[in-house]
């Protein structure tokens, strides 16, 4: 479904990704783990065309999207939940969700239904301003907003960031539900390797802008390199 082929990019003189190749097949949850600054967010952003890949190719559903402008890429059936949630703080929950449906241009009602079924909390708070939600609710809103464009591929950037373990479990359960029930394909980027790899069918490890390991989620989890680097001693 998505193929990132030998992509390198960066910001000015900073090289953030070197020769990165990953693949996400239809119906999969693929997790990319990496330390802070490894280039995880850059990879997701490069898939969306901002920053653009300097070399290499990004192919989505058989179509080369490497040179497309960002706003066109985002209409092709992929959606991103950006790092740090970035809900619209002064807009109501409902307005936030509708912003997600705006560009796609289809009837938002059934999708709204689906998002409210997935996160009943959002329905309760639909008139509240986005900025006044708790961190977990904001994450639900950010995911819900991305779902409103009816994507076939969802890119998630550190959804567990700064959330309590219980909330993280809820969010991850929702991701699994979307994948199993709706057949949504997910590319998940995380520092929280333990739960993220457990959730994933397959995974990649990104170190300093390079892919160093790849394999099935639980396989990676069992590797001593991964355990040492991303799970710490405490888990």
């Amino acid at each position: 479904m998505l193929r990132v082929d030998a992509v390198s990019t960066g910001y000015g003189a900073v090289q953030a990704l070197r020769d990165v190749s990953i693949e996400v097949a239809q119906g999969e949850i693929v997790t990319l783990v990496g330390a802070n600054g490894a280039g995880k967010s850059t990879l997701l952003m490069t898939i969306c065309g901002d920053p653009r890949a300097r070399t290499g190719q990004v192919v989505f559903e058989g179509r080369d999207i490497t040179r497309l402008p960002t706003h066109e890429i985002m209409r092709l059936g992929l959606a991103q939940v950006p790092e740090g949630r970035r809900v619209f703080p002064r807009m109501s929950v409902l307005e936030n969700l509708l912003m997600g449906a705006q560009v796609a241009g289809h009837d938002p009602a059934p999708l709204l239904h689906q998002v409210f079924a997935l996160f009943p909390r959002l329905q309760e708070r639909q008139t509240q301003r986005g900025g006044t939600l708790s961190g977990g609710e904001q994450q639900m809103l950010a995911i819900g907003r991305a779902l409103m464009s009816k994507p076939r591929l969802l890119l998630l950037d550190e959804p567990s960031l700064g959330l309590a373990p219980l909330i993280v479990r809820q969010i991850f359960a929702a991701i699994r539900e979307l994948n199993e029930k709706e057949g949504l394909t997910v590319l998940l980027v995380e520092q929280n390797a333990n739960q993220a790899l457990r959730l994933a069918h397959r995974g990649y490890v990104l170190v300093n802008g390079r892919i160093t390991l790849r394999g099935a989620g639980r396989e990676l989890l069992a590797m001593p390199e991964v355990r040492d680097a991303y799970l710490g001693g405490g888990h």
Binding site: H71, M74, P82, L98, V103, R129, T132, L133
Partner: protein
């Protein structure tokens, strides 16, 4: 408590002294021999410092007496909301009936025209600053483009006001896009500086391109507008408004006509803004103001969103500008200085950034206030500044600080700024 308040007030007085001693205490006048003489006005300084001292004490006492700010009861908020819904129709009714109210003379109508011009400019700038969140300090440039467009098209080619009005809007919008392109990547203070420079550049070009604009002498003899071809000549005569309707010729006809013209233009600006806010484009503007990166992630085309905001805001300023030109009959670069941009921006900010009715009230208070305090001469600016500071202290989000969601399921509910503070994390 008391010594603390005293100390605070003394400190305030000291700051006031530091400010007023050079600004008010010392004044250079032209003496009898033509040379400059230094006049000292320590009495005035003492009064001002005393005012600052007493004012600070009073403020502290008031705060102490009021105690902790209580959260507003829902009943009270509900009452305010209901009253708020009446304000807009009431203001509109007053605006429509003003020319026929007893006691309304030439002066009141002229003031009304001035206020409405600023209401329209405020609503126009609100699209750029209030909705799209792009801080524009050079808005007056588009006002100038509109005014000069009409003045030059009318005096050079003899085009009528009604033909020039849309042309002026289009030309200003074009300049809005021209400004928009280089600042696409800028935000906040950088954007403010570039727009500020843009405003000055336009003014300086108008000042120095003498062959086209007649430079500092301005353009005079700008034709007055007609009412479907009927003129408002003072003497009446065939083809005049008074003659056609069988009225006694009166100079007030033109003023009343101009008043309704700007009222209509302002209302059109208002209706279009309100409409757009509920359209995808308006929502995209608001989303852009809130978070540009999230907008990108949602597939919103940032370039067109920003450019349309600049273009539409500029268009309304251009239309207001051509109205200004036809009303004055004479324009010069002096009318388009930075202070105009500052006043319009102040109206938008004081009005509550994005609130249509708030902006109308702010324009009324500021422009009306300017007139009321005209007798105060140089004190006017001081009073003006004080009022602005007070509004911002008492209502930090502007006069109308809440934002009505543009969509809701079922009953539209307001989310008031007093109720919900910004949350983090």
């Amino acid at each position: 408590m008391m010594p603390q308040a005293l100390k605070d007030a003394v400190l305030t007085a000291l700051v006031a002294f530091g400010l007023f001693a050079p600004m008010v205490g010392l004044r250079t006048d032209v003496g009898p021999s033509g040379a400059l003489v230094l006049r000292q006005r320590w009495g005035d300084v003492a009064i001002l410092v005393g005012l600052a001292f007493a004012g600070r004490l009073a403020l502290l006492a008031w705060r102490a007496a009021r105690g902790e700010p209580r959260p507003q009861s829902t009943a009270r908020a509900e009452a305010i909301r209901r009253a708020g819904r009446l304000v807009a129709p009431l203001l509109l009714a007053v605006a429509v009936l003003l020319p026929f109210m007893p006691g309304t003379g030439r002066y009141e109508l002229d003031l009304g025209i001035l206020v409405l011009t600023y209401v329209m400019l405020g609503w126009g700038l609100n699209i750029v600053v209030g909705l799209a969140g792009l801080l524009d300090l050079g808005y007056v440039a588009f006002y100038a483009v509109g005014a000069y467009s009409y003045a030059l098209l009318a005096t050079t080619f003899g085009l009528s006001f009604w033909v020039c009005l849309p042309l002026a809007g289009i030309l200003a919008a074009f300049w809005g896009i021209l400004l928009g392109f280089p600042v696409l990547r800028l935000r906040g203070d950088y954007l403010a500086i570039v727009t500020l420079a843009f405003g000055e550049i336009i003014r300086i070009v108008l000042l120095n391109w003498v062959s086209l604009t007649n430079g500092p002498n301005g353009v005079s003899g700008i034709p007055r507008p007609t009412f479907f071809g009927l003129t408002f000549s003072a003497g009446g005569g065939p083809g005049s408004f008074a003659d056609f309707f069988g009225l006694e010729p009166s100079p007030s006809h033109r003023v009343i006509f101009l008043y309704y013209l700007i009222l209509a233009l302002a209302l059109i600006t208002n209706v279009i803004s309100i409409r757009l806010r509920r359209q995808p484009l308006g929502r995209a503007w608001e989303a852009l103001r809130e978070d540009e990166i999230a907008c990108r992630a949602l597939g919103i085309n940032i370039t067109t969103t920003k450019l349309t905001a600049f273009a539409l805001g500029a268009m309304f300023a251009g239309i207001a500008g051509s109205f200004f030109a036809t009303r004055q009959g004479f324009i010069s670069p002096e009318s388009f200085t930075f202070i105009e941009s500052a006043i319009i921006l102040a109206i938008v900010v004081l009005g509550g950034m994005g609130s249509q009715i708030g902006i109308a009230i702010a324009a009324l208070v500021m422009i009306g206030g300017f007139e009321v305090f005209r007798d105060l001469d140089e004190w006017r600016m001081l009073v003006f500044g004080l009022v602005m500071v007070m509004i911002m202290v008492l209502r930090p989000r502007g006069l109308v600080g809440h934002r009505t969601p543009s969509v809701a399921l079922g009953e539209r509910r307001m989310i008031s700024a007093e109720h919900v503070a910004e949350g983090h994390g």
